[in-house]
């Protein structure tokens, strides 16, 4: 952003510096490495100067917070107004145990809930299904029916908290239960706020909790978006997720590129349904990772906002500013945590949370230091929550908006990531779009190649990882790990047996029959889903109705 005369001066200055002091220092001491790269493998220059940001135009490329293209943030006051929502992902065992953890977290100053469901719930199986054996209540809470959901939110008023639910293929069912519960609490739907992940494409790409083939599963996703737009206006209808893409090994730019490619596919599906982009797009939300490389991560978030704003404006013709704003949740990088010297993870999480704050996230989950060993203990969860509270209250990153703007390095990296993302989006377009690129395994293979490169760098020692390939030490086996009671599965099975005996069989059968008809007719399934959960149909039973109609997805493996 320097003028021409100044740039020439800087160029001369740089050349003098290079020939003089730099050259002298290099010939005497050299540098630590031949090549410096970010954790994503992007080359990092020795120094960045105004020459690197010469093409940057403040008003068009950065603008002001709350203004297009939102590089500096989506709100005019950002954290000077209020901090991000501190939202710790939690859930294990039974609904009653998880309810106790939620009330503990709310008491400790957490400001929103985030439900982790166990794998049977996520894959649409009841707790007594053969494939659920050993998995019930393990990585999240077991929810089979609205009875469990009622226990999960016991003494938690649904008009006072916002709830994020990590649920994808069965998202319509869990949201249906939540809405039925709100009704029972006398909270009208326009007062409930929260998010469902509802991002089935990344399940197929990398997370593995898919049920139906891409077409039908996308239909359920769009049904939910359409229903909420009309009836649950404060609900974030999808959380388009790069988090798991990054966890699977992608680079920072790939994380953004493939997430935005998914976002384009969802937006297009909604437009094809006849929905108005200016009405639905404001409720599309995103979910990203934060790794330890603070500056690259902050640049990544800034680039993501700029790319999405342009996509919505230029590709989808959005006019409503809200429709162009990329609002997102961040979780610190689970895969960056080490089982070795686990307390070091607190520092990693601290840096990652700092990156998220510098990047301008809307909500944040900080991981617990013991997560490479087990599900987090209460002590570890408290440290994790305190970590983000320290970042918010003490680091100063929240006192001024987008504090890294204007850094030659950060601006240059923001541009670089944006360019890399756009290149991927062009390649995906050229393949016929996101679904086609997934079907061909293109996206999966790109991610796997990055994971492989990273592993090789670690094993060759080219990239240092504390406790893994450098500064290792002998340590005693870790103690005080959280164990999940193996009997949760049996208890849930008993509860299901009772539920099936007690419920009104006629109402139940009629509700599932109606759901079947509506599904076949192509109408929006949400009202019929709500009716079915009220008739105490289970997650597995509703998913089975759709398994019959849609079939099940069997992925090709690309290894």
């Amino acid at each position: 952003m320097a003028d021409k005369t100044e740039l020439e001066e800087i160029k001369k200055g740089r050349e003098t510096w290079e020939k003089g002091p730099l050259n002298k220092a290099l010939s005497r001491f050299g540098e630590r490495k031949k090549k410096f790269t970010s954790i994503s493998g992007t080359p990092v220059n020795r120094i960045y100067t105004p020459e690197d940001t010469a093409t940057l135009r403040y008003q068009t490329d950065l603008g002001f917070p709350g203004n297009y293209p939102y590089t500096r943030g989506v709100q005019p006051t950002m954290y000077r107004g209020r901090f991000w929502t501190m939202r710790q992902y939690a859930g294990f065992g039974s609904a009653a145990e998880t309810n106790a953890r939620y009330r503990y977290l709310l008491e400790k100053g957490q400001t929103g809930l985030s439900v982790a469901f166990d794998l049977p719930t996520q894959a649409g199986y009841d707790s007594d299904h053969a494939l659920s054996m050993g998995e019930v209540g393990k990585v999240g809470v077991a929810i089979d029916s609205i009875d469990d959901m009622r226990v999960l939110f016991d003494r938690i008023p649904l008009d006072k908290v916002t709830t994020s639910m990590t649920i994808n293929a069965p998202a319509t069912i869990l949201l249906g239960m939540y809405l039925a519960l709100a009704e029972a609490q006398n909270v009208s739907w326009d007062k409930v706020g929260g998010t469902v992940q509802n991002d089935v494409l990344k399940e197929i790409i990398c997370r593995g909790q898919y049920i139906y083939p891409p077409g039908p599963t996308m239909r359920l996703t769009v049904d939910l978006i359409e229903f909420c737009q009309k009836h649950v206006p404060r609900w974030n209808t999808i959380s388009i997720s790069g988090y798991h893409i990054r966890e699977s090994g992608s680079t920072a730019a790939q994380e953004i590129a493939f997430t935005i490619a998914d976002g384009i596919a969802y937006a297009k599906a909604c437009v094809d349904r006849g929905m108005d982009v200016d009405q639905f797009a404001g409720r599309l939300s995103f979910f990203f990772n934060a790794f330890t490389n603070v500056l690259e991560e902050a640049a990544k978030f800034r680039a993501a906002r700029r790319v999405w704003a342009k996509v919505m404006k230029e590709r989808f013709g959005a006019k409503n500013p809200r429709a162009m704003m990329l609002r997102y949740h961040v979780q610190t990088g689970g895969v960056t945590l080490t089982a070795q010297q686990p307390l070091n993870n607190i520092v990693r999480v601290g840096l990652q949370a700092y990156a998220a704050s510098l990047g301008g996230c809307q909500s944040l989950h900080t991981n617990s230091y013991d997560e490479a060993l087990c599900l987090p203990t209460e002590e570890a969860v408290t440290v994790a929550l305190r970590t983000q509270q320290i970042v918010a209250e003490e680091s100063g990153s929240t006192d001024t908006i987008d504090p890294l703007a204007g850094s030659y390095y950060v601006e240059s990296m923001t541009d670089q990531i944006e360019a890399d993302v756009n290149e991927y989006i062009e390649k995906i377009d050229a393949r016929g779009g996101t679904l086609q690129a997934i079907e061909e395994g293109y996206i999966q293979k790109e991610i796997q190649n990055s994971a492989y490169r990273f592993q090789k760098e670690i094993e060759s020692g080219e990239r240092a990882y504390v406790g893994i390939n450098k500064y290792q030490m002998e340590e005693p086996p870790p103690e005080n790990l959280l164990r999940i009671d193996m009997s949760v599965g049996e208890k849930e099975t008993e509860k299901l047996k009772a539920l099936r005996a007690e419920r009104n069989p006629d109402a139940w059968q009629a509700a599932l029959g109606h759901l079947r008809e509506v599904t076949k007719s192509g109408d929006n399934v949400m009202p019929a889903v709500i009716e079915a959960v009220k008739a105490r149909a289970t997650v597995g039973e509703i998913c089975d109705v759709w398994r019959e109609i849609f079939g099940e997805y069997r992925p090709k493996e690309f290894v």
Binding site: L119, Q122, A130, E203, A451, Y452, Q455, G467, P477
Partner: protein, 132 residues
Amino acid sequence: MAKKKLKIIVAKPGLDGHDRGAKLLCRIFAEAGMEVVYTGLRQTPEMIVEAALQEDADVVGLSSLSGVHNYFFPRVVSLLKEKDMADVLVVGGGIIPDEDVSSLKAAGVAEIFGPGTRTDEIVQYIEGNVAG
């Protein structure tokens, strides 16, 4: 005589979707000269053992990050025994607490590789311990 190529089944038991490690190891094993069959996700012990039988595998590698190893790993070992395939080397990896390792080994899992293990260490272990 040319050395017979080792054949390894890499499997994800249960509903766990974390397959970064499993897929990465497939590539590493292939580069080390092994013949690799990846089962994909959502495998029951029966499906894994059936694959081992069909493929006449020398090794079964199990990966679990969702805490179900105590349930699944021993079951795979005992089903292999039932099918007269007790000489198949069973190894595991993922998020597996140290305190579970001894009971898994007692159940017949040869070795457990935790997070941060070097991949060449895993390859060496397999090459050094496979039967035949």
